[in-house]
């Protein structure tokens, strides 16, 4: 899923301070699971902003709403009838949701309430870690199911660099060397022969290098 983290309250206060009617807009998907932008976080942020401005002697209207998703037309349409009641929206969705809402509601400022971090997993309670960078041509079949693109700092594709030490990456002793993980897994799978095969040159045009990416499916279009 998409991993995000809450922006500092001070930053959000700065973003919204000049608006009188503010809608806090949550999303029920990824940001709910990573506890950054679901209904609960909407309630907390709205309460905090109300109190902050009240203590400053300012009366503001702070509305709360959480949509099923902010990356789909049909759910974003649900706020069409209330959008003009607000001077600005703080969206707690990932960057996709914020932008999609902004594209739809051209005259309302859409402000991000979270920082979108990565595509990752819920590794432990309170710990979310990156697993994929959406490179557009997945190599996991050759790498024991462990991604060298997202988990190796250098994105090397044919075994570890010289900085791999005791299973850790040279960037930090807390970061596993992706290639150590790959080798360990290939051994467990009894597929070390795969490791000997030189990987073909990766097509990076499907990654960010090729500019913004799209998926078109004529078979599902109506």
């Amino acid at each position: 899923m998409i991993i995000a983290e809450k922006k500092p309250i001070e930053e959000i206060i700065q973003e919204v301070k000049d608006f009188d009617r503010i809608l806090i807009l949550g999303c029920n998907e990824c940001v709910t699971v990573c506890e950054a932008g679901g209904k609960k976080e909407v309630e907390v942020l709205a309460s905090v902003l109300r109190m902050y401005f009240m203590a400053q002697g300012q009366e503001k209207t702070i509305g709360e709403r959480t949509l099923e998703r902010q990356c789909d037309h049909e759910y974003l349409e649900e706020i069409r009838n209330i959008i003009d009641d607000y001077d600005a929206v703080v969206s707690l969705a990932c960057g996709v949701g914020v932008q999609f809402a902004a594209e739809k509601y051209l005259t309302t400022p859409l402000l991000p309430g979270v920082n979108t971090i990565c595509l990752g997993a819920n590794e432990d309670r309170g710990l979310w870690t990156e697993r994929c960078q959406a490179c557009g041509s997945c190599v996991l079949a050759r790498t024991g199911g462990i991604c060298p693109v997202s988990r190796c700092a250098k994105r090397v594709l044919n075994g570890p660099c010289g900085g791999s030490t005791n299973g850790k990456c040279e960037i930090s002793k807390d970061t596993d060397c992706a290639w150590q993980l790959i080798i360990d897994r290939l051994k467990a799978l009894d597929k070390m022969d795969d490791y000997e095969k030189v990987a073909p040159v990766k097509d990076w045009s499907t990654d960010r290098a090729g500019g913004p990416r799209t998926v078109t499916r004529e078979d599902v279009k109506i």
Binding site: I9, E10, K40, E43, V44, S47, V48, R50, M51, Y52, M54, A55, G57, E59
Partner: protein
Amino acid sequence: MRLKIPTNFRIIRLPCTGKIDIIHILRAFEKGADGLYVVGCMEGDCHFNEGNFRARKRVEQAARVLDLIGVGGERVKMYNLSSGEGPLFAQYSIEMVNKIKELGPSPIRLARQRMSKKADAA
């Protein structure tokens, strides 16, 4: 036990302090509470193992936020005691009430009063 406890606080019962969430604490302040304290079982004695540890974390989260927005994090506190410690419960309530008196009314309550006066005058 006929223990004297202050009369100016309200007890909200929870099945376990683990039920408390930061939003419950914030709502109390938003509605004008001057202070709030959570009384959980002794650490290590929670029937649900971690309820009171979760509560402590949430009280800490609330305190941080209240500090940030100028309400004052010292207005929330977590206490732990066992169900047999009535006198300690009384002592904690007195301690908390005295602390809040020392801090004075919450800026939110004052703001609410100003706002309703303004509304009355209008």
